[in-house]
Symmetry: C2
Subunit: 337 residues, 2 copies
DNA sequence: CGCGCCGATGTTTACGTAAACATCCAGCAA
DNA sequence: TTGCTGGATGTTTACGTAAACATCGGCGCG
């Protein structure tokens, strides 16, 4: 069934009785082809089922119209939603997306991904990753490939797009303080994560700026399970009336732990998350959380990398995408003593 | 900063003092190059930072070593996890993944995606989608491109890989019946979804096979919100002691609705979900659900499409990936009357 | 009426790679 | 020694496209 050879411009040219260059012009919508000729060529294309060979095109043009995306995992909502936005916007600009998954986030495997990308047909790269793994000293970027990094603070080396972690955190913590809570406890994401560190730092700073005592932070790893473990410990802290979880999954685990220990949310303890995953609205109770605009992050990543490709010029600096607090039913003033 | 031209084999050949063909042999690991020569070439490659040009390679070989993935949305856990598995396995086989997002799942836009893919540099396509949109009469596949479809029943037209929806559903419903429930209610996914229809059908058949009455099914759309609405209606059904939700998100919504109406899970009502998303373990209470092996689905998709590419031969038929019921705390025997 | 210009189309060439074929040389058997 | 064999390496060519340049013919203007 499979034809041994693809239809090439030469075939179309022969059938249409023109030169292959004219076919090329029609194919690219170049001017300088008279309507009648164009029609003949288009008819011949249709008849033969002609499709441009993108490899030859890329070879000739020296550009692939493709962006590579390196990411560590698609498991997190944030990563997949960002990727989706990237894919959509790239498609809109006529760029294709090539995916390079990195199984294990070690320096070596990230390096490997970069190497592979260098061999792949891409004009630019978007890295979605906790990026202290990206050591500029060891990673040699393929020449002529531009990079944008999401979810990182490598703004001095690369062009970075990120959610405004600090402001989102400030909104969350301030919201709890404004409700009248003495202080706010915090369950962190994994140590290696920049987003996690940034949120923890902003939490601490917001408390300090308000002159509150800073309780010890509880370690988590983004998973609901780790939130559950932290929640069990918080349930044993009588002084704890408000918790800020570094993401919604951990908040879910905290809700479960508090529920199992007979603590009411929000009457005994208020809980705030981060991300605003679609399910947050259906937690018990519906979760107050910081909404991240993943679509916007993706959009700006594409914008950034395309701008660099166009100008053939590396950029650095950080773009922050604003967040907003979504208040639902998991927060309330502390129970009167 | 950007070099005007890439390093080509000719440059390496010149520096190493050999012909470009020898460089090509080294680059591809072909035999017939003596060790000393190979070393020289490798050294020259390193010095110049040589990277093979994949466009030229693809042009010469007539194959791209790339698989296109068409998907409607990455928002669902299932899709992203499947995609991740696809990317990982494809990378392992030396294939790259090109992503083609379809913004709106209409016939037209799917067609558009196929057209775009035809122009893109892919050897095969994996479609992750509710696929009655794929009408064989209107979609003309680019020649020489092989297709595998996930999440569909188009097994007579394409090679299909899917979770064993029917058996998973049977396990879920039987589990509830075995616990002693008279019958099982069902909250469905969206009408247009094959997975949803398959689950609803299997639910009905399992009940009928056990000689139970089949309650009316409640419509949902995969979202937790729709589960919540269905849950509110179920809370008003005194006869309802067991619910099978077509996915975990809707189960979450049901749990919340029942909780708000003062119904205890599992004492008053047992709830089972489908998917086993990571958070299911942290629902209140932890959710009994049907575990889907998305990684395996992805793996088999890649296998299937690579086999077709290799043999240059279209295949049809369906491969089912088994599921298993994960029993947690949301199911129990009905309360004694 | 002829010159030159311009728009439409054709011809040549190069992009970087790798298959096919050609060449060269060392080693070995007659 | 000669001729042959086979492994190592070089040369030619083609993949499909599009830029650059070439050609052709008609039309306006002096």
């Amino acid at each position: 069934m499979a034809q041994p050879r693809r239809v090439s411009m030469a075939d179309v040219a022969r059938l249409a009785g023109v030169s292959s260059q004219t076919v090329s012009r029609v194919s690219n919508g170049s001017p300088g082809v008279v309507d009648t000729t164009r029609e003949q060529v288009l008819a011949a294309m249709r008849e033969l089922g002609y499709r441009p060979n993108s490899a030859a095109r890329a070879l000739k043009r020296g550009a692939f119209r493709t962006i590579g995306v390196i990411l560590f995992s698609l498991a997190s909502t944030g990563n997949s939603r960002t990727l989706e936005a990237i894919a959509t916007h790239a498609a809109h600009e006529g760029y294709a997306i090539t995916l390079i998954p990195v199984a294990v986030p070690t320096q070596d495997s990230v390096l490997g991904a970069f190497t592979r990308l260098g061999e792949l047909a891409v004009d630019g790269i978007i890295v979605i990753m906790e990026v202290h793994l990206l050591d500029a000293a060891t990673v040699t970027l393929p020449p002529n490939v531009q990079v944008v990094v999401a979810d990182s603070d490598a703004g001095d080396l690369y062009s970075v797009v990120d959610t405004d972690q600090a402001d989102g955190t400030r909104q969350a913590v301030s919201h709890l303080l404004d409700l009248g809570h003495e202080t706010v406890w915090h369950v962190t994401g994994p140590e290696e994560s920049f987003a996690s560190n940034r949120r923890a730092l902003a939490w601490r700073q917001t408390l300090e700026a308000a002159g509150r005592t800073v309780p010890p932070q509880l370690p988590g790893d983004w998973s609901a399970e780790s939130g559950y473990r932290a929640g069990l410990r918080l349930a044993d802290e009588p002084s704890c009336t408000a918790v800020f979880a570094a993401n919604d999954q951990m908040a879910l685990g905290i809700l479960r732990a508090l529920h199992e220990r007979g603590k009411s949310v929000p009457d005994d303890v208020s809980v705030v998350g981060f991300d605003d995953i679609p399910e947050a609205n259906s937690f018990i109770p519906p979760l107050t959380t910081v909404h991240q605009d993943f679509a916007e992050v993706g959009r700006r990543c594409v914008q950034g990398v395309l701008r660099q490709i166009e100008r053939a010029e590396h950029e650095t600096g950080t773009t922050l995408v604003p967040t907003r607090l979504v208040v639902r039913a998991s927060t309330a003033p502390p129970r009167a003593r």
